[in-house]
Amino acid sequence: MSKANVRRVLAACAIASIASRSVRAQSTTEYAKRLDSLTATWRAAVIAETRADSERVNGLPVDTVRVGNLVVLSDTEYVELAKNTAALVSPALDRAFGSWASRMRTHVLLLRRRSGASMAEGHPPVESGVVGPGGRVLLSSTSIATADALKSMWLRIAEEFLSGDLDPEIRNWLMVTLTSEPATARTLAQGRVDLVLARSRAAHSCALGDHEACMQALGLVRVDDVPFALFDETQRRGMIEWNAFVLQRRDPAAYTRCVQGGNQATCDSLIRSIPANAVPQAVPAAVRQNLIRYALLVGGDGALDRLANTKGPIADRIAAAARMPIDSVVSRWHSNIMSSQNSSTAIDATTALSSLFWACLCGALALRSSRWR
């Protein structure tokens, strides 16, 4: 028998011997028993959880406050507080979301004493959130028991849930929650800053007035090869180096050929190994949100409902919300943000005047200083 054959036989024997016996903590028998035991534990936990859910539901406050589109389950002692806060929040939601705000009726708010928490700023702390399945409190938070303190929290909760009620296509496109803050010329002008500073070739072209580039950068038309269509070579190189911690570990030789050897074909191959969801967006979410806010503003009543309920691609839905063709929406939005009177959102007229005033005052005082005479 040759040496190779001897080695094969020995290897086969070794493998057969280990297959025929159990190794501590690695045997199927032991793990089958462990799985049985864990399954029993899990079933017991599910039964206990169901009982706990029932107790939680029974423990919810019984007083119900309805103001506008808000429904609040409240401790009796906080009913007035709930009414006052809801009276502040409900009109703000109506203004921001229109009839879409009526969906808040399905997300019941909760307001109750926070057990075990100490007083803060002279007020007892309260717990608020949204009543979820099994009496669990979603987005639970603790704050002091004043309408002002609760208002911002409830607005944030409403923004989360009203945005969450939109279908996944819009949420994935938008990437941020809708805000209840009213759109103003100043907030819309912020879109220019975000667009101009975006780090993609498409965004720069868009800022310079290329309509097709705007459609691509905003994700309103299908783009097949995003890294190559919307980004230039330097930006793609940046993507590779940003993802170095993955790419270098995945294929050190290819990474070195690209980054240190400058091999373009290898770089292109590395770019294509970055999954689509890890390729940066051509414009930040703030720009997309800016476009949506503009569309809702020009669309008027029911704009958000039209956005949510229209079927079809995102471009069609924005067009329906704004009640004009998508090309017109994008063109008007572009000219609006690029020609806004608010030339800079960093320094407004008040800040500039205030700065001038203080500079002049200091100058005048300095001129009167005895040391200069």
Binding site: A25, T28, Y31, W42, S141, M239, W242, R368
Partner: protein, 397 residues
């Protein structure tokens, strides 16, 4: 009215008070709220444990099946078994890559090794559900039992083979050097150098064999020198200036090592062992994922000794040579002692030299670059010039 220092101070105080009153006092600070993070329920904890046990049971059954198949094939010291479900082309590619990697390492014959790739799509095991990520490969290496002469078995599992619905990157992930290296890695070390000493084995087990991810001990690794990249990955994060830099991905202990602090390198690569309820499994089974897309979007943590930590053991083999590395590997002494005995140098100094080779030297303490000093001097000279000119203009003739 002359402006004396006391009047200057008074004017400044009044101005500050006015600024505070008109600008800040009108704005109420936002109410403080505390968002309570959800805690996992008992059901979730039990479900996770059950799912993990189900996955391991499934893996053990696959291992037994693979070993039975390998035993019937009598394939020699290395058996490569690829499920027919992978298709001819992909199976051939994986087989070739595994064998090439094995040959590059000198085709060691120390122990029988079985490398297998299977499709594992089942979602229920003995009535218990288990979670399987759709497009993430899972690699599990069963290390040989040191008390008996047994085989090392490494298994690559995928829930589905690449098809029309899988991401375009899935196929290339399966044949990426990282995946093949993870599949071959631990068994290759066993085959090439035998069973490690108990202390070395414990050290590697505690770190999930992360230091042994690379098995390319014939070539020096590409340097991962710190670099500044004026780029952020997402245009949403304009405020973030974090760019890829070895220092960004290195723990505090690792940075202290890079900076040359005594004994910090040894401390960094030998973290204190923490008791783990799962230690029995983890000491005998090495689990990795290979190349996968999920890591692109995961939060970027810091590795103990930087992003190149997977090269640590491979570099030991390359720089010490096989003979001295084998002496270290098989030693029953504690890791630092074993290293010193085998290499005549301390583990601390070797790791420091390795880190400097990989990432470049780390500047210590405050300092200024040459250009910064030049700018500073020019600014100073300019200021003196202006002061002299003003003084000359104010001189009473």
């Amino acid at each position: 009215m002359a402006l004396t220092p006391s009047r200057w101070i008074l004017a400044t105080a009044v101005a500050c008070a006015a600024v505070w009153f008109f600008l800040f006092r009108s704005e109420r600070p936002p109410a403080k709220t505390l968002v309570v993070p959800p805690t996992p329920s008992r059901v979730t904890v039990a479900a996770n444990a059950m799912s993990l046990a189900a996955d391991r049971l499934r893996l053990l059954r696959i291992r037994d099946s693979v070993m039975h198949e390998a035993a019937t094939q009598h394939a020699g010291s290395l058996s490569v078994l690829i499920s027919p479900s992978y298709g001819d082309a992909l199976a051939r590619q994986i087989d070739t890559l595994v064998r090439r990697r094995w040959a590059e390492a000198g085709a060691p014959t120390g122990i029988p090794v079985v490398i297998a790739a299977v499709v594992d799509s089942s979602t229920i095991v003995d009535g218990a559900p288990r979670r399987r990520p759709s497009w993430t490969p899972s690699i599990s290496a069963f290390l040989p039992d040191t008390s008996r002469s047994a085989a090392c078995v490494s298994i690559l599992r995928v829930a589905s083979i690449p098809n029309a619905t899988s991401p375009r990157t899935f196929r290339r992930n399966l044949i990426a050097p990282q995946t093949i290296g993870g599949l071959v890695g631990p068994c290759l070390y066993y085959a090439a150098f035998g069973s490690p000493g108990p202390q070395v084995a414990h050290w590697l087990g505690d770190g999930n064999w992360r230091a042994a991810q690379v098995t390319d001990w014939h070539t020096a690794p590409p340097p991962a020198a710190p670099r500044f990249i004026p780029y952020t990955p997402s245009v949403n994060d304009r405020g973030s200036s974090a760019a890829y830099d070895a220092r960004v991905g290195t723990s505090t202990a690792g940075l202290a090592c890079l900076a040359g602090e005594q004994m910090r390198c040894a401390q960094a690569v030998l973290p204190p062992s923490r008791p783990n309820t799962d230690s029995v499994w983890r000491q005998r089974v090495v689990s990795t994922t290979g190349a996968n897309d999920a890591v692109f979007t995961l939060p970027r943590g810091r590795n103990i000794i930087g992003p190149a930590d997977g090269w640590l053991l491979s570099e030991m083999v390359r720089t010490l040579g096989k003979e001295r590395f084998t002496a270290f590997w098989r030693s029953s002494e504690p890791v630092p002692d074993a290293f010193r005995a085998a290499s005549n140098q301390s583990l601390d100094s070797w790791v420091h030299a390795w880190a400097v080779r990989m990432y470049g030297p780390l500047p210590i303490g405050p300092g200024l670059g040459g250009l910064d000093v030049l700018y500073g001097m020019l600014l100073l000279l300019g200021g003196i010039g202006v002061a002299l000119a003003v003084a000359r203009a104010r001189r009473v003739s």
